[in-house]
């Protein structure tokens, strides 16, 4: 056969392709095509606001006027349960933890290989909680104390109380958000302060509700925040809260239901919060404005975060964020810097939680309600007057003490607590846009094994990023 004939035959059979080349090209095409398609799909389906809600608590919360009032720190579960035990809950909790270590356990129902192994897990918790302890643990009761001071700590005197004239709120908002991220926040939002969310009194004695050291927290026409024998005074001009999300190590929260590893993950977020809240406060003061760092103290973090457009309230009584679900902690700084508040978001959480109930099913303390939302909390640790799912904070914390570890079962099992894979964004997009499908997601979540309890060994074997955070989500 001549060369000419050969080439003509080839022309007549354009569809002939060797299997090897087919696979070569198909693989390359698929990879390129999908890589190009995914960012677009993620944007379309991720948790951008489905409905733009109007700003202001009245629009987001159904609340009973006259019933919803400012909450007292005295009624926080930690203080009320301590009152029941007649001693700080933490002391009992810690005693139980050490007792379990001797039995080679890192939680009531979490055995490990040996005492040596248990000590290593406790060491993880000790390390993770160090900066939390040094920067006023958890914040509540520590308002205006130590590193949570309401006055400048390290700001050059020439900059104190001396802001530049003609501030541009849009520019300041952009800068302050960048700063918060720079200081370690995973997500940042701005809320206009609804004073209902600011505690009406604080309880200086950390874990005793009726200890004599309580102070009223009031707003007054003053230039700088200050403290007297009986009051903590916030300037009337303090109108904005910068709310920051700090991601937890998702896998560590799933070791349990209550384990020392979960405590380590949680405490690390508070330690990081001790940097973000304080650093951001100092930066704001350096620009001449007042800044009040909070951690868990000062004001109720969840409603502020909802106002700041960072998430919605779930059945488990926690903020559900689009990126981290409930597996995160919330820090905040209150300020008089002129800022532009964000808008609350609705990505279908209320409708989803109404059907799912997985957290209530798996809660070992039976502290989460299966019932409809209501205006009445079951115990005084909830603030009455808002239509929501109330959690029995006392039952929850009693279980912590009994377990000798922090429980994060409701965070671990929540179908919103997922990794950074784009497939989860598709699911979240469907939850947001097709609520009719909500009844199928929980059985599917169970079938796929999501949120199941993990082995403590995973802590030593997982791929570890700085702070154990999911770096793929940090875009």
């Amino acid at each position: 056969m001549s060369e000419k004939e050969k080439s003509e035959i080839q022309k007549e059979k354009p569809k002939a392709v060797s299997r090897r080349n087919f696979l070569k090209v198909a693989g390359v095409s698929a990879a390129v095509g999908i890589a190009a398609a995914v960012p677009g799909a993620k944007n379309a389906l991720s948790a951008t606001p489905a409905k733009k809600l109007k700003m202001g608590a009245e629009e987001i919360y159904k609340s009973k006027k006259g019933v919803l009032k400012r909450f007292s720190e005295k009624n926080m579960a930690f203080k009320r349960v301590s009152e029941e035990y007649g001693k700080p809950w933490f002391k009992l909790w810690f005693k139980n933890m050490l007792g379990l270590v001797k039995k080679s356990k890192i939680g009531e129902s979490v055995p490990v290989k040996s005492v040596k192994e248990a000590r290593a897990h406790v060491a993880l918790w000790v390390g993770a909680s160090t900066w939390n302890k040094l920067s006023q643990p958890y914040g509540e009761g520590h308002e205006n104390k130590g590193f949570l001071s309401w006055n400048p700590i390290n700001v050059p005197p020439m900059f104190r109380g001396n802001p530049e004239p003609n501030p541009d709120p849009a520019d300041l908002t952009k800068k302050v958000k960048q700063m918060a991220r720079f200081f370690g926040a995973n997500r940042v939002g701005i809320a206009k302060i609804n004073r209902n969310w600011v505690y009406n009194e604080i309880c200086r004695n950390e874990y005793f509700a009726d200890a004599p050291i309580t102070k009223k927290m009031v707003f007054r026409d003053v230039k700088t925040p200050n403290e007297t024998e009986t009051e903590l005074i916030i300037p009337d001009t303090v109108k904005y809260a910068i709310v920051m999300i700090l991601d937890l190590n998702r896998l560590a929260t799933q070791i349990g239901p209550a384990s020392v590893d979960t405590s380590a993950a949680t405490n690390l977020a508070y330690s990081r919060m001790g940097i973000t809240d304080i650093a951001l406060s100092e930066a704001i003061r350096s620009m001449g404005y007042n800044a009040l760092p909070g951690k868990n103290g000062l004001a109720m973090s969840i409603p502020l975060a909802i106002d700041a457009g960072l998430g919605q309230l779930g059945r488990n009584g926690l903020l559900i964020t689009p990126d981290y679900g409930p597996a995160m902690r919330i820090g905040k700084v209150l300020t008089d810097m002129p800022l532009i508040p964000d808008k609350p978001i609705d990505f279908g959480v209320t409708e989803f939680c109404d059907k799912c109930k997985k957290c209530a099913e798996k809660c070992p303390a039976k502290a989460i309600s299966f019932a409809e939302r209501s205006y009445e909390p079951p115990v005084e640790t909830g603030n009455p007057g808002s239509l929501k799912w109330y959690v029995n904070g006392k039952k929850c914390l009693r279980y912590w003490v009994q377990s000798g570890a922090s429980c994060a079962s409701c965070q671990a099992v929540c179908p919103y607590t997922k990794g950074s894979f784009w497939g989860h964004d598709v699911m979240r997009g469907l939850i947001k846009n097709v609520p009719a499908l909500n009844p199928i997601w929980k059985p599917m979540d169970d079938m796929f094994g999501y949120g199941e309890i993990r082995s403590p060994e995973l802590v030593w074997n997982m791929k570890m990023s700085p702070f154990g955070i999911d770096v793929d989500k940090e875009i």
């Binding site: 392709v17 080349n21 087919f22 090209v25 999908i34 497939g423 997982m462």
Partner: protein
Amino acid sequence: MTETNTVAGATKDLLKAIGYRIKNAKWWKTVLWVVGFVLAIGFLWSSVASIGEYEPRAAVIYGVIFLILLMLGIVAAFQKPHSARAKK
């Protein structure tokens, strides 16, 4: 059989082959193939990602779905030439 030794040549041949198939196939078959291909890649990706997320059961389920789609694809791809030969 065309012999091609470069990716560029193979791409050209593949596109020609796909074009030929699309031209001669019924539209719904083409749609089915595209959907099946995308789903198969999606499930394979999900399986690999689930391993990375330490979700073994999810990885197995996604993997099995991928294998089923792959088998269906192979059966469908090899069925046509056989039936075509049978008609001759």
